[in-house]
Symmetry: C3
Subunit: 140 residues, 3 copies
């Protein structure tokens, strides 16, 4: 069994945004030399997420609006008890948190498996500071 790990770092200027990281993850899989296995892509912060979807701006706008409706931002301690700690991120982001463990592969085979899924995104939910994404490839 082989293993290969890299970290991607993102410093998103907005509080919330979605950034396409497909190419960097594909590079990691290629650099790993692993032909058959799994690639785990995981945000290293509780106020961030990783998800798969189309790279379409309207969809991302829908996401932001839908998340705001589902868990409205409100820094007051009345809205979220978690804000009494001095944090103002509402503890909201884990609701949207996800991580991607996908089947890997080699060369064209790997790409064929990603294609119908769309693109891989880093979802920032409390930005304005550097944050990391773990990319770990395991297999042979």
């Amino acid at each position: 069994m082989q293993s290969y790990t890299v970290y991607l770092t993102r410093n998103i200027p907005d509080r919330r945004d979605f950034v396409n990281i497909t190419d960097e993850v594909a590079d990691a899989v290629r650099d790993s030399g692993i032909c058959e296995g799994l690639c785990l892509v995981n945000a290293m912060h509780i106020t961030a997420s990783v998800f798969v979807n189309d790279d379409e701006p309207g969809l991302h706008a829908d996401y932001k609006r839908w998340l705001e409706k589902l868990a409205p931002h409100d820094p007051s301690p009345q809205a979220y008890q978690h804000n009494r700690t001095g944090e103002d991120n509402d503890g909201r982001s884990p609701h949207a948190a996800d991580h991607g463990a996908r089947g890997g592969g080699c060369g064209h085979r790997r790409q064929a498996r990603l294609r119908p899924l769309g693109a891989l995104f880093y979802g920032e939910l409390d930005g304005r500071r550097p944050k990391r994404v773990l990319v770990k490839v395991i297999g042979e």
Copy 2:
């Protein structure tokens, strides 16, 4: 390390439905010959999901109603900007998307680990066309 991959294909006549795929996944684990490892079951489309729950019709009816309340279907471009692309699936399904990475095993041991979890389902959220589910077993 050994690896074994199969794809299940489903063409669901309705837009939304939930289909029990437990037996086919169990067959894949058995056919893999792998006794100890992980089985990744992952929908290869952003408008589909995989989840674990009881095989109980009332529960599935509750799911459909709850999802409709959480993210109502509305093909108009006013409701979801994503619909301006000509798609009418609202970009809703990823909200419910999940994937199952479960500990595998051999023979009775494997079954014992699945049993308390209920059954494994393919959750269709934009059907009426053939779609695929990746089943990948990794281990020894």
Copy 3:
């Protein structure tokens, strides 16, 4: 490839509660002797979950309130068809279900990777009976 499996058991006196299981999972990783790989932590019940977040009581109170708003508890068969089976857990919990597959490691390296993520929790959604969490470490 090596594999190491343990089960944690919890009998939570309340219907819903969140319990920090970070130390027990870290113990399992250490006991496995595996330096590089994955650790799968998975609730063995459909009315339970595993998630990563801060160990902060206000946040947990927010969770409980937010989940109640998202999928209110109501044991009547009018509220949820699933309740007609005689169960009163509403089929709610899967909405919050998650599982954690994290990159493992050895000694200080492993801890360094968990630290920015906060703590690992067992999320009970239908307690008052013994339930199990699978902890499976795979790697080398």
